[in-house]
């Protein structure tokens, strides 16, 4: 998953796809600033708004052409909402989304349509994301129909080519989704996403519904397609091992905020945010000998509610390094190392940002450090 040679030039639908020249590899393809999504909570007959679920609460990042940005976090951290915001399946409450320099934050359905060619999505559940009453041919050719694109050599031929690209038998054109296994269905979803030769593919948990051996097939497929077609990916997943394998850069989310954004190696070698560190130490490692050696950080309790997130740093209620300042001041996102941004007052593996502050009472009890056998 490294930089491709020629983004946006390979593939069949080249002539018809794309609305503008693609940015060179490494340049920003998608830029997000202050992106926010609050889902209102209403009460009573008049639907008075009594609160809001702050699913995504002010995040900034950019996605560079040709890279894979991994977004990782626990359930309820807002990662899927973020994916739906940047593909504009949801209307942002605030903030700005730019695709290739164009502001798409509040474009309507019609305004988004030309862009739908460039931005595609792969969904988590290959059972509910394919219409059971349509044949594979109808599913994969739908993008052509909707966009009025006539691929060279006809739609059917193109669909069969796409099926072959994702490793399915092109003769299965007339079959229905129920005739395929989970892994094959996910391949159909991928073929559909690739039909219009997109620039950006947002994949929300693309492999989490699949068995281990099938998961590896799909991960490798995504990898190959990126090399061949010069795709840019945003891959959203909860599995830190998968994210490590597929991503160039990784954003870690907690309660609607990005707490750390870094290059893969930098992040996994020396995580700076205590949450990232705890998250990584919690992943069970398939290595029985190491369970005796490893230091585990066990976070106590559950993620707080995004309806009333904690003040200051949102992680301070579960953080063993929390001090008074964490309770009152939200830490800014700072680049403490080249290519490594973190939002923390007391980062790990980096100089302390707020030295000598009083620790919060009970903060060190918020974690159990263990190295047992």
């Amino acid at each position: 998953m490294t930089t491709p040679e020629q983004p946006g030039t390979a593939g069949p639908a080249t002539g018809s796809a794309g609305t503008s020249p693609s940015p060179a590899p490494g340049e920003s393809l998608l830029r997000v600033t202050g992106l926010t999504k609050h889902f209102p909570i209403t009460k009573g007959l008049l639907k008075r708004q009594t609160g809001a679920v702050r699913a995504v609460d002010g995040i900034d990042f950019d996605v560079r052409a040709g890279e894979t940005l991994g977004v990782v976090g626990e359930s309820g951290c807002g990662k899927s909402t973020m994916g739906r915001l940047i593909t504009r399946l949801l209307e942002p409450t605030d903030g700005r989304v730019e695709f290739e320099g164009q502001d798409i934050t509040h474009l309507g359905t019609g305004g988004m349509r030309p862009l739908r060619r460039d931005v595609q999505m792969i969904f988590q559940d290959p059972y509910s994301s394919l219409n059971p009453r349509h044949t594979v041919g109808a599913i994969v050719s739908a993008p052509f129909k909707l966009q009025g694109v006539r691929p060279e050599g006809g739609v059917k031929k193109e669909v069969q080519r796409l099926l072959e690209v994702v490793g399915l038998n092109p003769e299965h054109y007339n079959r229905y989704p129920h005739e395929f296994s989970g892994g094959q269905r996910q391949r159909i979803g991928i073929a559909r996403a690739l039909a219009l030769n997109p620039k950006l593919v947002v994949a929300d948990e693309p492999v989490s519904a699949l068995d281990v051996s099938i998961q590896a097939q799909v991960v490798n497929l995504l990898d190959d397609l990126q090399d061949e077609l010069g795709l840019t990916y945003v891959i959203i997943a909860h599995d830190l091992s998968v994210i490590r394998h597929v991503s160039d850069r990784i954003a870690v989310m907690y309660l609607g905020k990005i707490v750390e954004l870094a290059d893969r190696e930098s992040l996994y070698r020396a995580p700076m945010h205590p949450y990232t560190k705890a998250l990584m130490s919690a992943v069970p490692v398939p290595d029985p000998k190491r369970r005796a050696e490893r230091d585990r950080i066990l976070l106590k309790g559950d993620v707080p509610s995004p309806i009333s997130p904690p003040s200051g740093c949102r992680f301070h209620t579960r953080c063993w390094k929390a001090t008074e300042v964490c309770k009152t001041q939200a830490p800014p996102m700072l680049e403490l190392k080249t290519g490594h941004q973190v939002a923390c007052h007391h980062p790990e593996n980096a100089p302390d940002q707020k030295q000598g502050d009083t620790p919060l009472p009970g903060a060190d009890a918020a974690v159990v450090q263990k190295s047992d056998g």
């Binding site: 626990e74 359930s75 296994s181 892994g183 094959q184 068995d211 281990v212 051996s213 099938i214 998961q215 590896a216 097939q217 991960v219 490798n220 990898d223 909860h238 599995d239 830190l240 091992s241 998968v242 490590r244 394998h245 597929v246 190696e265 996994y268 705890a278 998250l279 990584m280 130490s281 919690a282 992943v283 069970p284 490692v285 398939p286 290595d287 029985p288 000998k289 190491r290 369970r291 585990r296 066990l298 976070l299 106590k300 309790g301 559950d302 993620v303 263990k370 047992d372």
Partner: protein
């Protein structure tokens, strides 16, 4: 598992006939007295369907001692959950469906054979001597009753005590599994708990009678990774405390590496490899185990290499390939096997001390492939 008469559908397997609890079973003639705490011998669970006979579990044997943890690993449809339901006696034989579930084999728990025991006898053991944690706590807990009510019920079925005592016991258990303010939360409903707390409540319920055998079927699959770590830790601590035997069923090799002493790898309803965790992880003998290890992205390694997936998809349990079930997907199917044909089924054979594998390849071939081709790429 309500009646013990078993359709003699599988020729050549010892058929279990009804016998008094604890008595050696007549009929098969293979009933040697078991030495282990739990011993499963040649367990078969077949479901007749309109499309054909689904052989969900097809001849599984293993044993487990108290204080030890066995990890059963496999993909969906490999028969892991059906095995656990079989041990718990939760398969409905005949009574409900039009078709009869066919069970055969032997399950010995502390000298008692369960498959041939009367349903009432098994019911007395279930929840007391054997207990189970299910994958999805939201559907395994009753939404209509409070957590406390459900734990109290589980306790009072097996103990003749009044409600007050049972409630005290429920609070004690909730406290033990780490639910904050247990004396108040005991009156909460399942929907008022988070996913992690529900799983804790289920564990409290499963352990309220100090079972000697605990089966955890995908206990952390529905949970976030930080909560998963808490629950795995809890299971390990509780096992140390109570000294029970634990069976962990999972598709996640990370989870078994954390918990299990022994590992059993299942494929197509059969065991393909069994051994200590160290042996299975560091000297795996079966190509399917290699495939699982190669398919897995690793958080603990800098891996820029590609994953090595297993080609194809798992077999249909109606048409399990004759011979080795893994044959159609096996990259080493063409390695010469000294005249053994593809239709011959490989038996589970001992590789070295307490490490078994069901593969036709010679030990030398396997050793060579593992050290030269597989291990360097992992």
């Amino acid at each position: 598992m309500t009646t013990a008469s078993v359709p003699g559908d599988a020729p050549g397997t010892p058929t279990v006939t009804t016998g008094a609890l604890g008595e050696p079973v007549a009929g098969g003639g293979t009933a040697a007295p078991p030495r282990a705490f739990l011993e499963v011998r040649d367990l078969k669970v077949h479901f007749p369907t309109e499309d054909g006979l689904v052989k969900a579990v097809d001849g599984l044997s293993f044993s487990l001692e108290k204080g030890k943890t066995l990890g059963i690993v496999g993909e969906s449809g490999s028969g892991k959950s059906v095995t656990s339901l079989g041990i718990m006696g939760l398969h409905r034989v005949g009574q409900y469906g039009r078709q009869k579930t066919q069970l055969s084999g032997e399950i010995w728990l502390e000298g008692k054979e369960l498959l041939s025991a009367a349903p009432d006898e098994v019911r007395k053991l279930r929840g007391r001597q054997t207990s189970m944690i299910f994958q999805d706590p939201l559907s395994a807990l009753h939404p209509y009753f409070t957590i406390g009510h459900q734990i109290v019920e589980a306790y009072r079925i097996h103990h003749n005590v009044d409600k007050k005592v049972a409630r005290k016991r429920a609070v004690e258990m909730l406290d033990r599994v780490g639910i904050p303010q247990p004396d108040q939360r005991v009156d909460s409903y399942p929907h008022e708990f988070s996913g992690g707390m529900r799983q804790r409540a289920m564990i409290a319920m499963a352990l309220v009678n100090n079972p000697e055998l605990l089966i955890a079927d995908e206990p952390t699959t529905a949970l976030d990774v930080t909560v998963q770590a808490q629950i795995l830790d809890l299971i390990r601590d509780l096992q140390k405390e109570f000294g029970s035997a634990v069976i962990v069923i999972t598709h996640d090799l990370g989870v078994v590496a954390e918990l299990a002493d022994d590992i059993l790898v299942m494929y197509g309803g059969r065991c393909v490899e069994r051994g200590s965790a160290e042996k299975v992880f560091y000297e795996p003998q079966h190509p399917y185990t290699w495939g699982l290890l190669g398919s897995m992205p690793r958080i603990d390694r800098e891996q820029t290499e590609r994953l090595i997936p297993v080609k194809g998809s798992p077999p249909s349990l109606i048409n399990i390939p004759s011979g080795c079930a893994f044959n159609p997907r096996c990259p080493y199917a063409d390695v010469p096997k000294g005249g053994i044909t593809r239709t011959e089924r490989p038996e589970l054979r001992e590789v070295d001390g307490n490490h078994f594998s069901a593969c036709h390849m010679s030990p030398e071939d396997r050793e060579r492939i593992w050290t030269e081709e597989i291990a360097p790429k992992l």
